[in-house]
């Protein structure tokens, strides 16, 4: 008898699935694939806040077409790239979207790359930071930060100006971590420094004291750190402080995540003096940024924006500006052509899209944690103008880059 219900269940499934969307001519649909839930939910929250803020400021009509957003959660099953790929396919096949944007994590973007090449749809990467992604499909454009660009700049500065001689590197053991480790080490050595050791820690790692001890025992005069968002920055920062590793004893260089608001609050004064190389902090001084920070504050109950928020904001900005240029034509080839070389004033300063690689070109700021109004805060003290991704420059020099920016 139970088989009756097996049958009915199957039918019900089929019925439930039968909701076909209608299509309209004068709208442009944008599919957002982000991790709205799961381990990286906060990343999605920030990116989406950026997207929402841009649309709030600039309206939902561009070149006479209405913009419609369809949000999809790629965090549904942890970090399952097969989900991200399916969502991309479904957005294109089922929802008939014209543009896709988002991508919290590198594997998500890599898994979906072929879908965009095959369907000729533009995909704007608002976070995933491994250098090589944009070379995997000619329809990718990126508004976040190719990690090696920032980390290479930081490595050079650390050896030349920062006074670091012997360094130890600590990165999370996954694509972006390894990417940034290589970039930092290469640049640091090229500038005359010595790398005396390093460690890569697991993505899920509740306790950092063993690694802090290792750093301490290495007798390095400086350390380079890359950790992704989430609980790791604060946990690592505290473990270092607990083992007596503070910028007073060991020079600490890091990517932007370690000095975002929440880890800074948790670390307190132990963070004073950490040097980071990154493209955005909410403390950046410009009118554009002041307005942006205010907007995000209102949207997220007083929280300050971070890199994820500004990348989401600029991702929408890129889409809007390109659509303006094509007069609302969202055809993949036309749109990506329009995106190439686009330049605008972002809350993080002047940015542009490299016509050769479709990756972002932006300033990398060197910042120090200082006490401002009695609280530790990131303060910019130097910058490098218009930094390009060194990995793709190298590919180009080796003759491994196609004219459309994909790798051979």
């Amino acid at each position: 008898m139970k088989k009756v219900f097996a049958g009915i269940g199957g039918m019900a499934t089929a019925m439930l699935l039968g909701l076909a969307p209608a299509q309209a001519q004068d709208t442009i649909k944008i599919g957002l694939i982000m991790s709205f839930s799961g381990q990286f939910a906060d990343l999605g929250t920030m990116m989406d806040a950026g997207v929402k803020l841009y649309m709030k400021e600039h309206g939902d009509t561009i070149a006479g077409k209405k913009i419609e957003i369809i949000r999809k959660d790629s965090g549904a099953a942890g970090t399952a790239p097969d989900v991200a790929k399916r969502l991309a396919q479904e957005l294109i096949v089922r929802d008939k979207v014209d543009i896709i944007a988002g991508f919290s994590l590198t594997p998500d973007a890599l898994a979906a790359a072929d879908v965009f090449t095959e369907s000729k749809k533009v995909a704007v990467i608002m976070n995933a930071a491994t250098a090589i992604i944009t070379a995997r499909s000619p329809y990718f454009a990126r508004t976040s930060i190719p990690l090696p660009a920032a980390m290479g700049a930081l490595g050079t500065w650390a050896a030349k100006t920062g006074g670091a001689k012997k360094t130890f590197t600590m990165v999370t053991n996954y694509g972006p971590g390894i990417d940034s480790e290589i970039a930092f080490q290469t640049a640091f050595k090229a500038a005359g420094g010595e790398v005396i050791g390093g460690v890569r820690f697991p993505v899920a790692n509740p306790d950092f004291s063993a690694f802090a001890q290792q750093l301490k025992d290495s007798k390095a005069d400086s350390v380079y750190i890359f950790v992704p968002g989430g609980e790791q920055p604060a946990a690592l920062g505290k473990a270092l402080a607990e083992h007596g590793v503070t910028p007073k004893t060991v020079k600490i260089f890091s990517s932007g995540e370690l000095v975002n608001d929440e880890p800074l609050k948790s670390m307190g004064d132990a963070a004073l003096g950490i040097i980071s190389g990154w493209s955005y902090s909410w403390t950046h001084k410009s009118d554009t940024n002041a307005k942006f920070v205010k907007g995000i504050n209102e949207m997220l109950n007083g929280r300050n924006p971070d890199q994820f928020a500004v990348s989401g904001y600029d991702g929408m900005q890129l889409i809007y500006k390109a659509l303006e240029k094509t007069k609302g034509n969202a055809d993949g080839d036309t749109l990506i052509a329009a995106m190439k070389g686009l330049a605008w004033e972002s809350p993080r300063g002047p940015v542009s899209i490299d016509p050769e690689t479709r990756d972002i070109v932006q300033n990398i700021y060197l910042r120090r944690v200082d006490t401002v109004n009695g609280k530790p805060q990131v303060v910019e003290f130097d910058k490098l103008d218009a930094v390009k991704d060194p990995v793709k420059l190298q590919l180009k020099a080796d003759g491994k880059l196609n004219p459309d920016g994909t790798a051979k």
């Binding site: 906060d42 890569r200 004291s209 063993a210 473990a239 929440e262 880890p263 307190g268 929280r303």
Partner: protein, 287 residues
């Protein structure tokens, strides 16, 4: 050399003690009531968020939030026990897992809705920060605090279970539920109180864990595996087992990550699988 060894031992043990406080309640519910409570992490999360809310929104001192975190998680668990868990005491393990996983999912969404998806920053009072230096040796103050707390909790639990009337009742219910009922013990009440106690400890652990482990809505799921490992290796319903196992696992984890970082991630799991094959009822099990 010795200083480094002691330092690693200390760090690992402190980490283990945190795991102990988080897991010991689960050991009790699983072993005593035979209930697969995968929502144990959610109770810990309740404690964590209560502590955070009191500190950051109402300005309470950290230490004062700890008992409230305990009570809040205990209360929350009693409500769930009365409303949902009771119905499934006689159900299969599978049904119990599904129910409690459902509760975990809901708790994650509720936490994200109420507190946002971000990491909750916590700033401890100065007397719990920094480290104590004794010659070559140095110890993190907070870790010391964790160890002391765990020792106090263990002491209280052992005394409570071995030397009080309630403890005797609990042991009676664990060893032979039917007989206990036959002797006129109110088994339901004992269960409820023990369950509340176990969940309260989870809540306390959640509050203590914010500093080293952070707190976000995913907390309910993130550390579930670690809790299960402690319970399985320590042996069900064994406080001593959970204590030693947690300490041991913490030390192994830290040592393997220090000396062999490239394979450090899976030594812990290897040890666990090995121990379970060696002694399936738990390394420190009484039976």
């Amino acid at each position: 050399m010795i200083a480094r060894f002691v330092s690693l031992l200390f760090d690992g043990f402190a980490y283990g003690m945190l795991l102990f406080v988080l897991s010991v309640g689960l050991s009790v519910t699983l072993g005593m009531m035979n209930f697969v409570n995968l929502a144990h992490g959610a109770f810990a999360m309740v404690g964590g968020y209560v502590a955070i809310a009191l500190m950051n929104r109402m300005g309470w001192p950290f230490l004062a939030t700890l008992p409230v975190a305990f009570l809040a998680a205990a209360l929350f668990s009693v409500v769930l026990e009365r409303v949902l868990y009771r119905r499934l005491y006689r159900a299969t393990d599978l049904d119990q897992s599904l129910l409690t996983i459902g509760i975990v999912f809901m708790s994650i969404a509720i936490a994200a809705y109420v507190f946002g998806t971000n990491q909750q920053p916590v700033q401890l009072p100065d007397y719990l920060r920094g480290r104590i230096v004794l010659g070559d040796f140095s110890f993190g103050v907070y870790r010391l605090f964790l160890i002391v707390s765990a020792l106090i909790i263990t002491g209280l639990m052992v005394i409570g279970l071995e030397y009080t009337r309630f403890g005797a009742q609990v042991r009676a219910c664990v060893d032979n539920q039917r007989m206990a009922r036959g002797l006129g013990l109110n088994v339901d009440y004992v269960f409820m109180m023990t369950f509340a106690l176990g969940s309260g400890l989870a809540g306390l652990g959640g509050a203590l864990a914010i500093e080293p482990m952070g707190l976000d809505p995913n907390f309910a799921l993130k550390y579930l595996v670690y809790m299960l490992i402690v319970v399985a290796v320590g042996g069900l319903a064994s406080i001593r087992g959970a204590f030693f196992t947690a300490g041991l696992l913490g030390v192994i984890d830290i040592f393997s990550k220090y000396y062999v970082p490239w394979i450090g991630g899976f030594i812990l799991y290897l040890v666990m699988v090995g121990l379970l094959i060696w002694r399936p009822n738990g390394v420190f099990a009484r039976r």
